[in-house]
Amino acid sequence: MRHLRTATSLVALSLVTVPLAACGGGGGGGGTSNDAFKQHLTDRGPITYVQGKVNDNATHAIIAQWNKLHPDEKVTLKEQTDEADQQHDDLVRNFDAKNADYDVVSVDLVWTAEFAAKGYLQPLTGDLAIDTDGLLDSAVKGAQYNGTQYAAPTTSDGGMLYYRKDLVKTPPTTWKELFDDCKIAKQAHIDCYAGQFNKYEGLTVNASEAINGAGGSIVDKDGKTPTVDSPEAAAGLQVLVDGFKNGDIPKSAITYTEEEGRSAFESGKLLFLRNWPYVYGLAASEASSKVKGKFDVAPLPGLDGVGASTLGGHNTAISAYSDNKATAIDFVKFLQSADIQKEYMEKGSLAPIRAEVYKDPALVKKYPYLPTLLTSIENAVARPITPYYQAVTKAIQDNAYAALKGSKTSKEAVKDMAAAIQAASSGQ
């Protein structure tokens, strides 16, 4: 016991000596603007492109094409894990160390503001500006922070309503119509509706869709003033709460991420499913799918009319610490070009950011859901664009989850959400 007491005094002692060790303490970036913004703007040379683990058949091929065209400015791919949180933390760690190894990075839509505010991302202005002509407006805005373009949209994503066309003649456009159709599910002895309700980013997406679809909103245009404490937002959330309460949404859906929902839908146990486009190809082709040829997609329902999807997707950004920014911007533009966008869609089922690609007849023939997806993305609502996104999304998730579990009312939930977003946005 004595030795613990001794250690206590040692800890106290070390407090005095710490400043020695403290140099290089966390944080970094910082400052109203980053000096690194002005450096290496015209330099060219080999670069590294960082993204989460490649799980499509497009990315490797696309990089190979670039390397063939630019033998002196080769791109090396650095793959992170496929966990979004780990990708985020890895980027922060490397930016924070002012690491010049990461030249071009793939940034989830919702991290863009945080990274921009930390001074990690090279503003795409002046010589580095991108041409936004022909790009989907929502995707372009999703890569801006405080009116400056900090990243280039590369792939987009939007939610769709999957439904069993063998059981439902016309897809519902409102929540009421959807839940009215639940009697069909009952007759067929299957569950009615599910989305992503586990407590993770998917819940933020689904709760936002319910709230936005009912005419509510999460935050004001400034990205930080909470507006979620409103009767509309509560009514939107209440739709999901009621669904759980009366069994139209199966109880097990509280643990659903994308995959559990897809599995339920493919095994024929679900009438309606909110999910991303990736499900389409799998449900249509997998040997284990029991709904081949029996399903279709529609835009998400809202309270009084067609709803609004939450916008998904990835931006590509240039690190402020890159040594070869001229090459980097060329590569970013290359990824945005119409041909590459088409390739992303064809080989990787990644939603393009150019409207024209959605209308390509050959692609539409192969992917009949493209027009629906375009509608979804064009009407999609972005999640709050705020440097405090991590805290904001927790505020949404925690309180929405509590409402779905019935431990607080929708009204209390949106009130707490607003308070927590307020606290988060003031950096507390």
Binding site: S14, G25, K118, S252, D398, K405, A423
Partner: protein, 335 residues
């Protein structure tokens, strides 16, 4: 320095073994001292780099405010005094109480959950581990195979273990299937906690069993034989011979398991993401630390420091409690 400080885990039994090294004995031998420092220094250097440096750095950072946004960019927060500690201990978010859905609001709940996991899993592991060790210490065919089998759970990387059990306990998984149940394991508070406890106990009981087994192997059969001749029953033999003699090994195993569970991260993170129940019912302190690093390094450093102090406190009580009993009545048994 007193070699036999009362209550120190490792020194307590030494008095039994080495009566000649009594407290307050002959004066210190300088050669011995130099040799000791030489032997100890590699360990201390490794620990200073890998653990000491980050700990000291975290303590320093915990007194700095997190960066905040000015004119759209993050700027350094400057000296914060105890604000980061108030954020956690008093659950203050600036001038207001932390609202539900902020990391600060869940602090005490998370402390409770972490302690709950610790008490329950370590207790179960102790009982099971002791029992496993007793059986494995017996003489039977295929001992080596059994010892290998018991190690399987410990040998599987934690991330894989977590996914395995996530899978086993999923709604459409094998547990619900075998028992014809419809339990939503990761949605309900107690079901989720039970699932995490089962996985953790499954994974780490072998650790406990193995350390206790090694302790049991030090006990000579003669001791038991002698006690048997003296007419001691099996129960008496267990409490008066086995328990006191393996106690040092058990205490070490218990202590390290306790420290580990108090810092548990992977299992609950992968299985529930800290969710279930009302939303944070399986969040441990380490999960909260990671969540907080995404909000601010300095407040996260304060939380790491608090966690460190909590673990320190538990270890202190632990040693005080177990150490006190270890210095009690001398065991009757002799080798």
């Amino acid at each position: 320095m007193n070699d036999n400080a009362p209550g120190s885990v490792a020194t307590a039994p030494a008095r039994r073994r080495l009566p000649r090294r009594r407290a307050g004995g002959s004066s210190l031998d300088p050669h011995e001292k130099r040799r000791a420092l030489l032997l100890v220094s590699p360990a201390m250097i490794a620990l200073a780099i890998v653990i000491g440096y980050p700990v000291v750095r975290a303590i320093w950072m915990s007194f700095q405010a997190d960066q905040h946004v000015e004119n759209g960019f993050f700027v350094q927060g400057g000296f914060a005094g105890l604000d980061n500690y108030k954020h956690w201990l008093l659950q203050r978010c600036g001038d207001v109480a932390c609202p539900p859905g902020s990391t600060g609001s869940s602090f005490w709940e998370v402390v409770g959950i972490t302690l709950f996991f610790t008490v329950v899993t370590v207790s179960i592991e102790l009982v099971l581990g002791f029992w496993f060790a007793m059986i494995m210490n017996g003489k039977f065919r295929g001992r080596g195979l059994v010892r290998a089998a018991v190690l399987i759970p410990w040998a599987i990387p934690t991330a894989v273990t977590a996914k395995l059990w996530y899978f086993i306990f999923s709604y459409d998984g094998i547990v619900n299937h075998l028992f014809g149940a419809h339990v939503i394991w990761f949605g309900d508070k107690w079901a989720a906690r039970s699932a995490i406890i089962v996985s953790d106990v499954w994974k780490t009981t072998p650790f406990m069993a193995l350390l206790i087994l090694a302790g049991l192997q030090l006990i000579s059969d003669d001791v038991y034989e002698a006690a048997k001749v003296d007419g001691a029953s099996a129960v008496q033999r267990f409490w008066s011979i086995t328990v006191p003699l393996v106690k040092p090994a058990v205490v070490v195993a218990l202590l390290f398991r306790t420290l580990d569970v108090l810092r548990m991260y992977d299992l609950p993170q992968i299985m529930t993401g800290g969710g279930a129940g009302d939303g944070n019912d399986t969040t441990t302190l380490s999960i909260l630390v990671i969540n907080e690093t995404r909000n601010g390094f300095n407040s996260a450093a304060a939380l790491s420091t608090i966690t460190f102090l909590i673990v320190f406190g538990v270890a202190f009580l632990f040693i005080k409690f177990l150490g006190a009993s270890a210095t009690g009545a001398e065991p009757k048994a002799k080798r």
